[in-house]
């Protein structure tokens, strides 16, 4: 069965600094997708970044980048130049490429606080 683990329930970062959120996953599939979602207090889940497992290059979206280590099954999120608006719950998620096991599986989340 697929599992996603986020070992940091809470993190804090100073505004303008950089923070890294950790995520490990387990899947028996070779083709899958990894995602980071942000859930601010408004509850709206927003996709931050995604990574296809077949791509070796780490995904980047503006201030957000990932460190994808396929062999280690690790998928961390780096937020550079942190802003107050980055404060939210961040969920790591994994989805297999196809078939009956292609559900989106979420980790337990990391609550990020941004200090001014």
């Amino acid at each position: 069965a697929q599992t996603v683990t986020q070992s940091q329930p809470e993190m804090s970062v100073q505004e303008a600094e950089t923070v890294t959120l950790s995520c490990t996953y387990d899947t028996s599939e070779s083709d899958y997708y990894l995602f980071w979602y942000k859930q601010p207090p408004s509850r709206q889940m927003i996709l931050v970044i995604r990574q296809e497992a077949y791509k070796q290059q780490n995904a980047t979206e503006n201030r957000f980048s990932v460190n994808f280590q396929k062999a280690a099954k690790s998928f961390s999120l780096k937020i550079s130049d942190s802003q107050l608006g980055d404060a939210a719950m961040y969920f790591c998620a994994c989805r297999n490429y196809g078939g009956a096991t292609n559900k989106l599986i979420f980790g337990t989340g990391t609550l990020l606080a941004v200090q001014p």
């Binding site: 979602y37 408004s42 709206q44 559900k103 979420f106």
Partner: protein, 114 residues
């Protein structure tokens, strides 16, 4: 991107009653997903709803407790039946983004059962 709305945004209900949550999407989608997010927890998939067929429920969720309707390609409802305080959660509707494995999420319905 798809725009998803949910009604109600929040509700407080008494135990033993039922609540129907509506999910409306601004475009036609084949699949719609319903998730539950218990307080301080992650998202758990309740069921997948395809238009014109019975919903597919995940382990631990049953149709009698969470009946789902999917009358057309832009709308779905989830009913939480015979509610107990343990049903207090945020319920989210989600749809896939065309041509990708990404999903859009609705704003959620915060349910409190007293």
């Amino acid at each position: 991107s798809a725009v998803i709305s949910q009604k109600p945004s929040r509700d407080i209900c008494q135990r033993g009653t039922s609540l129907t949550i509506q999910c409306q999407v601004d475009s036609q989608v084949t699949m719609m997903f319903w998730y539950r997010q218990q307080p301080g927890q992650s998202l758990t998939l309740i069921a997948t709803a395809n238009q014109g067929s019975e919903a597919t429920y995940e382990s631990g969720f049953v149709i009698d407790k969470f009946p789902i309707s999917r009358p057309n390609l832009t709308f779905s409802t989830l009913t939480v039946s015979n509610m107990s305080p343990e049903d207090s959660s945020i319920y989210l509707c989600s749809v896939p983004r065309d041509g990708t494995y990404e999903q859009y999420f609705g704003p959620g319905t915060r349910l409190t059962v007293t």
